[in-house]
Symmetry: C2
Subunit: 475 residues, 2 copies
């Protein structure tokens, strides 16, 4: 296993030069100004040096003609220049003894043209000679709110404990945005595109040792050094959860990874088997990724696959059970004792106290609700509770006061029950309820209560956590 | 094949008696008042007779002690009484020569008690003797805005062209609510629970002949007369699309159907094979159901499985392609001609003009967008366009004006392109954008443009429509 490279000054640079800044107003595609704006938004405390062939000042910062003209050390140089210019800029970086470079610049191996691939190869050679490490090329680069870095001014400045390395800048950006709206924030994100120098396992090893990161997430298209990655993953996954989304799972997808990051996607079947052996938590979509992170962060790992399904009425119970069992969970009958106790208070007509539990109308009574929770807590047949509720039912019944009351109960219940609760709040396309859900969610997640948008997503997440839990027990 | 029963006076009754109305204020669980409120909301034009043991008036309507006291004919009697009372009420219905009864009442075969099953059997016998047809028992019954019927006052009063029969009242209610927020409205819905008399194939045959219904949808848990159903389906599906969601696909789900509607779910494998042979369009969740209906209603059937994927950037292109190919679609390279033409205007760096198309930033130019659409229209490799867009990108770039402009273009494009467009508008958990999306959607769907919430859903829908299209060609 390769050791962790020292990337401290990459995520916490003391000075940044941005080559390819622009004097144009507003948004300029592929200009370096977005990075300067990102630093401003993230309260970067070091020095910023825009590089421009003729301008004196950009965004109020003194400009330099070339890297060579900058006085003092430069930890990080961000390349926002055409591919034809990168070798010259790299020469200047070498002379200036720059530590790290990141290339937004695209147009290398991924174009499929031999001459473009040749430039990428030369770039790496020059960097190796000069002891410079490269992020990219063909990527958004670095987001680290604590280090004052971002690739635009729209990323949140709140510091979290998630680390992410992603071959796609788009999916990294979406992960941060989607995460933020679920109360999930990041310590460090690196979008690393073609990975011609620093590779997935380098970022993984660094994040594994970073005490500020508790959960590691990755979007990968292909690995040039797969062995190093899986060796590292195997060592790390039992200590820090490692959630990975693999792009290029299909024939068409694999073709697309070549055009995107020049990645050879490889056999997805082999990939899956490697993930299992390395304790990686696999996900296959943005939703799966975000809600898996939420559950890893907020819920205790499940001790078994048996769930109680509460919510909806009869049809909902049937279809939720289908979703659960298709995901690999089980919906067993409650224990004889639980059934007998519930039958004391809940009529047989129009209800079911077996499992799925079709008893929602009877839970308007606080005593009934409490009794059910006590039974579920004790019931040896049940490892977790899936509670699916249409937010409109509470809101229309009991208004905002009722919703607040429900939220208070749920935040307390999670800890008391000692079994994970997968709370599903449905809003069925209603924009007003959706906004209410977002509000409610903020309070819930602040109390370590995970909220899911659909039963299918929740069931898939629990299955993944169950597999991870079993891996941890075995390893 | 059994012929269609005459259910006209069931959906368009001239008079309704509600046995089990309540004098209590507000919402009363399992009382008949919800049906009276439903009739009021739906502007029912016939006579309403509440039946109550002592009240003189309920909701302003004159009350009757029993069915027998009502003067004149009664087309439909709604039972909202305990199971212990239903045989007596049925006797009265027989004396009054009632045409149809519907039982909200539960507590029959589905409880698992032999005595309860016996009552259901006797109920059916009495009805047969008297020539009365039964909806249910253990169900919400009828929603038909044109006939003035609904099981509560919250269902929309807008009349549409979808017919639905569902063994679950909850899923029927959710379908109507979710449908409404996607601009999909219903002509007739029947929630028919235990189906002890009128069965799935009766409703299917009736809806097949109803000229007011263009698309038929069903949620089913089990069929007691499967042969009659599939024979009918086979005859109907090529003429009217028939979308079916089967509950009880798994072991646990099948156990739940027994507690719910006393249905024997049967082998799901056999079910799937029967659906294929009968040209049924199968769905497995509320989202799949709603968006399949939307596509059936709004998009032309696909001529092949090859799609162009437009939207997002590189990572999005890769993962969307994965989703498409996993769903059974294909993302081939565009034709040589298309690629060459696109390369004339779009730089190779940071883009891909193969397929998936990673060229979104270059489509800010109207000329480029038009050129792309012309190429896609002509390209023999492409059967449909998947266009995925984060609504925030347009909104932040060009504000509401830009969004409106985009909507205008999309509504025109659908017809002009002559290939179905699967438009995916993403909002990534942003409540404000979600509300904007709902607004935008109203305009789009009014112009026969289908909008999908995620790429996965859209890909699954197109695959289903492709299978259906192939079935129609063969049959």
């Amino acid at each position: 296993m390769t050791s962790a490279p020292d990337l401290h000054n990459l995520f916490y640079p003391r000075s940044i030069a941005v080559v390819g800044s622009s004097t144009k107003r507003g948004f300029v595609w592929s200009s370096g100004n977005a990075y300067i704006n990102g630093c401003i938004k993230q309260s970067f405390h070091g020095k910023i040096f825009p590089v421009h062939p003729s301008a004196d000042y950009i965004l109020g910062y003194k400009c330099y003609r070339t890297i060579r003209d900058i006085r003092g050390d430069i930890d990080l140089v961000i390349f926002c220049v055409p591919a034809s210019a990168v070798l010259d800029v790299m020469d200047a970086c070498a002379e200036k003894k720059v530590k790290f470079v990141h290339l937004l610049t695209a147009g290398f191996t991924e174009t499929g043209r031999a001459s473009d691939a040749e430039v990428e190869k030369k770039l790496v050679e020059k960097a190796r000679m000069a002891g410079i490490r490269i992020v990219g090329p063909n990527c958004m680069g670095l987001y680290c709110p604590e280090g004052g870095l971002s690739w635009n001014s729209e990323m949140p400045d709140k510091i979290g404990k998630i680390g992410m390395f992603s071959q796609s800048g788009q999916l990294a950006t979406m992960s941060v945005a989607s995460g933020a709206s679920e109360g999930l924030f990041f310590s460090k994100v690196v979008s690393f595109g073609n990975a011609s120098d620093l590779k997935a396992h380098d970022y993984l090893n660094y994040m594994a040792e970073d005490p500020k990161i508790e959960i590691i997430v990755a979007y990968l298209e292909g690995l040039t050094e797969g062995r190093a990655f899986f060796d590292a993953a195997k060592k790390i996954s039992a200590l820090k959860p490692l959630v990975v989304w693999k792009g290029g799972q299909t024939e068409g997808g694999a073709r697309a990874t070549q055009s995107h990051t020049a990645a050879m996607a490889g056999s997805f079947h082999v990939w899956q088997s490697m993930c299992r052996q390395a304790g990686i938590i696999p996900v296959n979509s943005m939703e799966e990724m975000i809600y898996t992170i939420s559950a890893v962060k907020r819920l205790s790992l499940p001790r078994g696959s048996n769930i109680a399904v509460l919510g909806g009425a009869g049809g909902g119970g049937v279809t939720m059970t289908d979703h659960a069992e298709k995901a690999g969970l089980h919906v067993p009958h409650l224990s004889e004792k639980s059934i007998a106790k519930l039958q004391e208070v809940i009529p047989l007509e129009g209800s079911s106290v077996r499992n799925p539990l079709d008893i929602l109308p009877h839970l308007r009574s606080r005593e009934n609700f409490q009794k059910l929770m006590e039974l579920l807590k004790e019931d040896p047949h049940i490892d977790a509770l899936f509670f699916a509720l249409h937010l409109g039912f509470i809101y229309r019944d009991a208004g905002r006061v009722g919703v607040n009351y429900f939220v208070r109960i749920m935040t307390k219940l999670q800890e008391w029950l000692e079994k994970p609760i997968y709370l599903i709040l449905e809003t069925f396309g209603d924009a007003q309820l959706f906004a209410l859900r977002r509000e409610v969610e903020e309070t819930l997640v602040a109390h370590k209560t995970a909220v899911f948008p659909s039963f299918e997503i929740a069931a898939g997440v629990m299955k993944r956590l169950l597999d991870y839990s079993e891996y941890k027990t075995m390893n």
